[in-house]
């Protein structure tokens, strides 16, 4: 998991365009050179560790990669007894639950950010911001516990059953039976967990919108909302997209909470109320009991896929956020 963005300072941490005056590498006496070498070693430790993670997981996944090839990605069969493995249900569950979470979380997070930056007086904004930070600090397993015993029963009784009974036959997405533990429950718990991260970035980029832009809009007679919607938001959009993708990366890799509420059935659900399975969940549930080279390899390949997807998503988000920060820094 990542540290709370507020504390990590998503924008503050981006590389500053200013070059430091003192060069670490230029000359110096013996002790300074040794110091520079030691620092370099520490610095290189991270890329080395990263590469090592990749190599280690890839080599463990090789048996499955050799046995199934690209068919691993498109097969929906997951049968340890017949030793047949396909990852499609897990890829599907991960992607759909995360997208569902983003669908719920992004509007909420943007609304929250606008409220905090544009509207709320300080005495109200500070405790709310603190509350969202707390939300980000709650361990995943506690979300899962709350999900099992509070959220899932509530969703079953107050959302799934009424919807399935009334429009379930007409709208496939809401078709019963209402299982409770479902891809919907997974999406909702992910949304709750991701909102603080997206809104923290959205807040930071909104707050970075220059004051004169806002004042110009207000002076032209715009209402406060028009100022926000037509002037501040467009200015902040690239950063907000970056924050949303950062949140998506978190949702894709989230393990404990979603494992506890999504139902863990390796099928492709046709209704939001059916159980599903995610890549992270199948790893959490089956890895300890995996027997045989092929099953272990298949699970390792899923880990490799999850690793690859989150790396791509996170890299993209970082580059976007950095670009925005650099632009803000130039001002």
């Amino acid at each position: 998991m990542q540290p709370v963005p507020e504390q990590a300072g998503v924008l503050a941490g981006a590389p500053s365009p200013r070059r430091s005056r003192v060069r670490l590498w230029a000359g110096g006496n013996l002790a300074d050179r040794a110091y520079a070498a030691v620092l370099l070693l520490f610095g290189l430790a991270l890329p080395a560790l990263f590469a090592f993670i990749f190599v280690e997981i890839t080599s463990a996944a090789m048996p499955a990669i050799r046995a199934f090839g690209a068919g691993f990605l498109t097969s929906r069969e997951w049968d340890p007894i017949a030793n047949q493995y396909g990852a499609l249900p897990f890829i599907y569950g991960t992607v759909v639950s995360s997208l569902l979470a983003m669908l719920l979380a992004v509007p909420l997070a943007i609304g929250l950010a606008i409220f905090l930056v544009e509207l709320a007086p300080r005495w109200l904004a500070a405790p709310i911001a603190f509350g969202t930070e707390l939300l980000a600090a709650i361990p995943s397993v506690i979300y899962g516990l709350w999900g099992i015993f509070v959220l899932v029963p509530w969703l079953r009784e107050h959302i799934q059953q009424p919807l399935a009974a009334s429009i379930g036959d007409a709208v496939g997405l809401f078709r019963g039976p209402a299982y409770g533990a479902s891809i919907l429950a997974g999406g909702v718990i992910l949304a709750i967990m991701v909102v603080p991260f997206v809104s923290a970035v959205a807040r930071e980029v909104l707050a970075a919108v220059p004051r004169d832009q806002r004042e110009a809009a207000l002076a032209l007679g715009a209402t406060r909302w028009e100022m926000t919607w037509q002037v501040a938001l467009p200015y902040a959009v690239p950063g907000i997209i970056g924050g949303a993708i950062l949140g998506l990366g978190r949702a894709l890799g989230e393990t404990m909470a979603i494992t506890m509420v999504i139902g863990n059935r390796p099928d492709i659900p046709t209704s939001l109320f059916q159980p599903a399975y995610t890549m992270a969940s199948v790893l959490a549930n089956e890895f300890a009991e995996a027997s045989g080279e092929l099953q272990l390899g298949a699970l390792m390949e899923i880990a490799l896929l999850l690793f690859g997807i989150t790396i791509i998503v996170n890299s993209f988000a970082r580059l976007l956020v950095w670009r925005v920060a650099r632009r803000a820094g130039k001002r």
């Binding site: 540290p3 905090l116 509207l119 995943s140």
Partner: protein
């Protein structure tokens, strides 16, 4: 009524409605927070007593028992992870602060940020393949390695930031006095950034203390007290997970209570880091 005033009224109405909706969004975000705390207190508070903190879990079906070994295990894991990870993380953070503008520095910073996003379960599996397979069994040591892998990128970035917040004049003053570079960093810059770095370390330690997924296949869990590095060890989050998915209502009760303890620990550290230890150079 003129068309102009109709338009005007519509604009005002949109203004009020949309701004109202942002307030609703803020409210909706906070509802789960309140509900989670409410349920933790309601379901967990009554189970807290001395025995809960000092005993090991009772066998299924029996009442009583505690999470003492889980608390100890989490403390052991987090401290050992700190021992393993913090030197690397703080060193890499100083590297980024000193040489972060170079191409290599940009690469290291980017890798640190991306590593922050690696799913914790993948870290657990990596350490399983690396350490657990080599040792031949689940162990406290492998659990601590997994947590250290999570700790390193977090602390690297906060350390870099905190070192960067130290005014350049301070560093230049040290150099101007004839200090060598390493003495300037260790004797002038780091002490000035100390409280900020400590805050980052505390927050990161609190975060890894709540992690379950990296421990599933490394520390594994243990129903008893354990001090040996080479043996599986219990942890608070893992016990909560096992209790929560068990069929016993007595264990569910204990899962709530253990969650209350865990969140108390995590939040106490976060709040302390936020209010009591502040970098003097931090503007916010």
């Amino acid at each position: 009524m003129s068309a102009f005033s109709f338009r005007e009224r519509r604009r005002r109405a949109v203004n009020v409605v949309m701004l109202g909706l942002t307030g609703v969004a803020a409210l909706v975000t906070l509802v789960p927070l309140l509900l989670i705390f409410l349920h933790l207190l309601r379901e967990g508070l009554s189970s807290l007593n001395l025995a809960f903190f000092t005993r090991v879990p009772a066998p299924p079906g029996q009442t009583g028992g505690g999470i003492g070994n889980g608390i100890l295990g989490t403390a052991q894991l987090v401290l050992l992870a700190g021992l393993l990870g913090l030197p690397i993380a703080i060193g890499a953070g100083i590297f980024l602060a000193e040489a972060g503008e170079s191409r290599l520095g940009t690469l290291v910073r980017f890798v640190a940020d991306v590593m922050n996003g690696i799913p914790s379960i993948v870290v657990g599996i990596f350490v399983w393949a690396w350490v657990v397979v080599a040792m031949g069994q689940f162990s406290l040591f492998s659990g601590a390695v997994a947590l250290a892998v999570m700790l390193i990128p977090m602390v690297t970035r906060t350390t870099e930031e905190m070192v960067r917040l130290v005014p350049r004049e301070l560093k230049e003053g040290g150099l101007a006095l004839g200090f060598t570079r390493w003495r300037t960093t260790l004797g002038v810059v780091l002490p000035a950034a100390r409280s900020g770095i400590l805050t980052g370390v505390l927050v990161a330690m609190a975060r890894i203390a709540g992690e379950t997924a990296p421990l599933l296949f490394t520390a594994f869990g243990n129903p008893n007290w354990e001090w040996r590095l080479t043996q599986p060890v219990a942890s608070l989050p893992h016990q909560i997970f096992q209790y929560a998915i068990s069929p016993y209502s007595e264990w569910h009760r204990q899962a709530w209570a253990a969650s209350l303890v865990l969140i108390g620990l995590v939040l106490a550290v976060n709040v302390a880091a936020r209010f009591f230890i502040r970098s003097p150079y931090r503007s916010r």
